[in-house]
């Protein structure tokens, strides 16, 4: 049973003091239902997630107590991708015809402060200042830059491209262009990453209505098909966040495994993809994820990014909506924001940030602590 996305909705990302995270999720859900021309009571199931804004299943209180099964999903920054995969499997099993996927969040300002005990690590790890996602990302890209000759200028170019794309996106949080010079000379957070190279915890909500592919035309004349959807966790030897020690022998991270599985399922390869969204928690993540997802060899990013190939008009447009860098990171919503943007691009509805030449295939990738990746491959 193939699966199609027939309705999409988003609540603008950023800071919305007048709405709770849950209300932002409900806002997105109403838009997605309207987009598909269906009612909440038509939904046969729901999967949703939020890390900091309450239980996603409380949406039934906002949208209607219909008795539908609604399951909460929690998988760190990969929550949105995990919720979509769960919904995909619910349709694919033949059990349901149509349902909804929702992700939303609302976080406090500043970096996430994690609790070591939730990860099975002693309190000393947090007390001595080793448990910060920012530090991990900095150390990962530091080693990568050393191994594959990636320059700081390339990290700045990734961020400036994100803000440039975000400026063209009415749903992005950061909508002002920032020069590479300003990015490079802004406050150093964790060498080599400066303030503007990091995304910030934010707010937002996204919802998708998905259904059996053979029924998609009932709801829309522009369905987007889920040709591949995969999720993997880390293997021993991959370099992950919140690890007091790691293996001497490194292996590929979960993104590599997930990407291969999704491409196998879709029967296409990286060269076939026209537009892609990659997890860009910080500039270095986008660089590394280009190769981990198979879109180039390790080290080729330097020339590709410097040549502008990852910009909207390039041959490998990455994070056309501004990514996490410009949109911010509401954990539960991020993976679904990528899918929302890809649907817009495949429908030809992305406005000033539309990639040229009628894109047919899109790709999304979300990565979360402590080593989970989710990938989708979408086709119009």
């Amino acid at each position: 049973m193939d699966v199609a996305i027939v309705g999409i909705g988003i609540h603008p990302f950023g800071r919305t003091p007048e709405r709770s995270g849950l209300q932002q999720g409900a806002f997105a859900a109403r838009l997605a239902l309207k987009d598909a021309g269906v009612e909440w009571r038509d939904m046969q199931f729901g999967f949703g997630g939020s890390a900091s804004a309450g239980s996603a299943d409380a949406l039934v209180n906002e949208l209607g107590l219909t008795g539908m099964p609604f399951i909460n999903v929690a998988n760190g920054c990969a929550t949105g991708g995990s919720a979509l995969l769960s919904a995909y499997n619910a349709i694919k099993s033949g059990e349901y015809d149509i349902g909804i996927v929702v992700g939303f969040d609302k976080h406090d300002r500043g970096a996430f402060n994690a609790d070591p005990r939730q990860m099975g690590i002693g309190a000393w790890y947090g007390e001595t200042g080793l448990m910060l996602t920012t530090q991990f990302f900095a150390m990962k890209i530091q080693r990568y830059m050393h191994a594959f000759n990636i320059s700081a200028g390339t990290l700045a170019k990734v961020a400036s491209k994100a803000f440039s794309n975000g400026a063209k996106n009415p749903n992005a949080w950061r909508r002002e262009e920032i020069s590479e010079e300003e990015i490079l000379t802004s406050t150093m957070i964790s060498d080599p990453l400066t303030k503007f190279m990091f995304c910030a915890p934010g707010e937002g909500g996204v919802a998708l209505v998905i259904c059996r592919a053979d029924q998609a035309r009932r709801y829309t004349d522009r369905p987007v098909y889920l040709k591949g959807a995969a999720l993997r966790s880390r293997r021993y030897g991959s370099f992950e966040v919140f690890a007091p020690s790691q293996a001497l022998q490194q292996v590929d991270g979960p993104t590599v495994d997930t990407s291969r599985a999704a491409f196998d399922m879709a029967g296409v390869g990286p060269r076939d993809i026209d537009v892609l969204q990659l997890q860009d928690t910080e500039s270095g993540a986008e660089v590394m994820h280009m190769a981990e997802n198979g879109f180039c060899e390790h080290g080729e990013q330097e020339a590709l990014i410097q040549a502008g190939e990852t910009a909207i008009g390039g041959k490998l447009p990455v994070n056309t909506d501004g990514g996490c860098l410009a949109s911010g990171e509401p954990i539960g919503a991020t993976g679904l924001r990528q899918v929302y943007e890809t649907c817009l691009q495949l429908r030809g509805d992305a406005g000033p940030r539309q990639v040229p030449n009628n894109p047919k295939l899109g790709y999304t990738h979300v990565y979360g602590a402590p080593g989970i990746s989710a990938v989708t491959i979408l086709q119009r």
Binding site: N113, P116, T128, G129, M131, L132, D191, Y236, A247
Partner: protein, 141 residues
Amino acid sequence: MTERKPIADGLFTWPSDNPALLGSRCRQCKIAEFPCKASCPACGSEEVAVEELPRRGKLWTWTIQGFMPKSPYNSGETVDTFTPYGVGYIELPGAVCVESRLVENTTRDLAIGMDMELVIETFRYDDVGNEIVTFAFKAVN
């Protein structure tokens, strides 16, 4: 009377004239882990034994923590007295890569591949004046 106390038991040999980090090693697949765990992260076996890890290794990667972390960070510092600190992974030969604070905290003093050695240093004082110590690595001159 106040004393020098480790920030957590079982992380390193203490008290000791020549402290070493304590890791666990799997008897099945020979993988080492820090800190000690009751099972092997590679194969899940519960046949693990505690051993002292090498005191010297090479810097595998690093960064400098430029802002004062929120709680649970607890160094006794305030935002005004906070000093940026180095953090890195040190490749301990035949054992494992260990994440650690670094004595060095400027970009010019740190480079991937440099030789590092274990030190035990004061981290903070507790409310009755005990000196709380933790492990760190410093460059070998």
